[in-house]
């Protein structure tokens, strides 16, 4: 059994269901376009796509007035909900929704002045549902699966072969130190503070943790050669991002939308739910 045996409908429900959660999460985090109060500063870095985005005056269009930004957010929510309910059946809605997610992601990253990877999953994944033919869809889905694995595999390649910091034994504590220093100073005496202080003061233990994280990243390379271990890689990616959140204070959980590409027949409750409903029909 492999993930290609699941059909497009199920993947669409999972993807757009996750995307709906992202909108709700961002609404409560005051990060939707209409909630940003017409931001002024942006960072486009050396990313040509961001330059083009501003050249096309898309931010001005979204921020033209309060109504346009509310309309955009409403459209994003309703079109995602529509794709969820109808399992991405209508190509035009799927395309417009995918473009809207891309615009939102670039807009948010640009005006939050930080090109955050956490939003890139929902920025690119909806385009997969532009393909309706099951055989072609499975190929596209395979491409997204490889892309999901590439994220962690590339991080491993950087650490092992390009910047080569895996033999630098202080790296574990040196990563935790600057990322948690504000927390340590502003929130003294908590159990988390004690844990961070312990690892910062014991660089070899922190290094062991770092090596375990790099090992998890390396395991993703296996996925390029076989789909046999997808059910393990599915959990490895989740564990990796949860540990990252606690030790490095980087919230990458939205990126887990890409993890649906690693779904295996028996490894998630949501799949069991879909199979149950399919059997009933």
């Amino acid at each position: 059994m492999n993930n290609t045996e699941l059909n497009r409908t199920h993947f669409a429900r999972y993807t757009y269901g996750f995307a709906l959660l992202i909108i709700i999460y961002r609404f409560f985090s005051f990060a939707l376009v209409h909630q940003l109060q017409t931001p002024v500063l942006f960072e486009n870095s050396l990313d040509y796509t961001y330059w083009l985005f501003h050249y096309l005056k898309i931010p001005q269009l979204l921020l033209y007035n309060k109504t346009t930004s509310i309309l955009f957010d409403t459209w994003l929510f309703l079109s995602t909900l529509y794709c969820f309910i109808y399992a991405a059946r209508y190509k035009l809605i799927v395309l417009l929704n995918a473009i809207s997610w891309s615009c939102y992601a670039i807009f948010y990253n640009s005006f939050s002045c930080h090109h955050n990877y956490t939003i890139i999953g929902v920025m690119i994944l909806p385009y997969a549902f532009m393909v309706k033919n099951e055989i072609k869809f499975n190929l596209v889905w395979g491409f997204y699966r490889d892309l999901n694995l590439y994220i962690l595999a590339d991080a491993f390649i950087f650490k092992a072969f390009i910047n080569k910091n895996i033999f630098y034994t202080r790296i574990g504590s040196e990563i935790i130190k600057p990322n948690q220093s504000i927390y340590l100073l502003q929130t003294p005496g908590t159990w988390l503070t004690k844990i961070y202080s312990f690892f910062i003061q014991h660089p070899h233990l922190a290094y062991t943790g770092f090596i375990l994280m790099v090992f998890m990243q390396m395991l993703c390379l296996i996925g390029f050669f076989t789909k046999k271990y997808d059910k393990y890689l599915f959990y490895i990616v989740i564990i990796f991002h949860v540990i990252n959140y606690f030790f490095v204070d980087v919230m990458f959980l939205e990126l887990l939308i890409l993890n649906v590409t690693l779904l295996h027949k028996k490894n998630t409750a949501i799949e069991k739910y879909f199979r149950y409903n399919k059997n009933r029909v």
Binding site: S29, F30, C113, I171, P178, S181
Partner: protein, 181 residues
């Protein structure tokens, strides 16, 4: 031969030529990003935390509201809001230190010189001074909406720290940088 036929690219070439071309473009884009270390969407590179770091001294910005209430958004699941406040503040601070000249401006000008076909895009790479000057009032407006409606004053401090022999952070001094009434 069977192994060759099972390769993803071979399957794409046989069954879905458009995807085959997209995958090739994607691979080329990623190779270019790795070679130049210039990342452009969607050709991402994931090199974070791959360099050798050794920090002895550091500084960070902190925000106090009204009568000195600290805005503590460290270690929060509320990351999008934290980014909107602290990442933008960090960029503003860097620009303000640089006489309101965006640090990206010089780098983007160099790119436009090297690749003249990109020059029409280059002026969209950075913020002009007017945007920096409008930032602090915007920050107050956003915080009023996203943090607390009762905010009247905001004070932004720069905290200079060093790491002790035990490797733990210690504040050496705190300087008031910006004040918004």
């Amino acid at each position: 031969m069977k192994i060759f036929q099972n390769l993803f690219l071979v399957k794409c070439f046989k069954q879905f030529k458009i995807l085959f071309v997209i995958v090739l473009i994607f691979i080329a884009g990623i190779c270019y990003s790795h070679r130049t270390h210039v990342e452009f969407t969607p050709f991402f590179i994931f090199g974070a935390y791959s360099t050798k770091i050794n920090v002895h001294r550091d500084s960070f910005l902190s925000i106090k509201m009204n009568d000195g209430q600290l805005l503590n958004l460290t270690h929060t699941y509320d990351e999008p809001r934290r980014m909107m406040i602290f990442s933008t503040l960090f960029l503003y601070h860097n620009g303000a230190k640089n006489n309101y000249i965006d640090p990206i401006k010089i780098a983007s000008e160099k790119i436009a010189l090297k690749h003249p076909y990109l020059s029409f895009l280059q002026k969209f790479a950075y913020c002009e001074k007017e945007r920096y000057l409008a930032y602090l009032p915007w920050l107050k407006k956003y915080m009023h909406h996203a943090v607390d409606k009762e905010i009247k004053t905001i004070k932004i401090y720069q905290n200079y720290i060093h790491y002790t022999d035990q490797n733990l952070p210690f504040i050496d001094s705190t300087v008031l940088k910006y004040s918004i009434e």
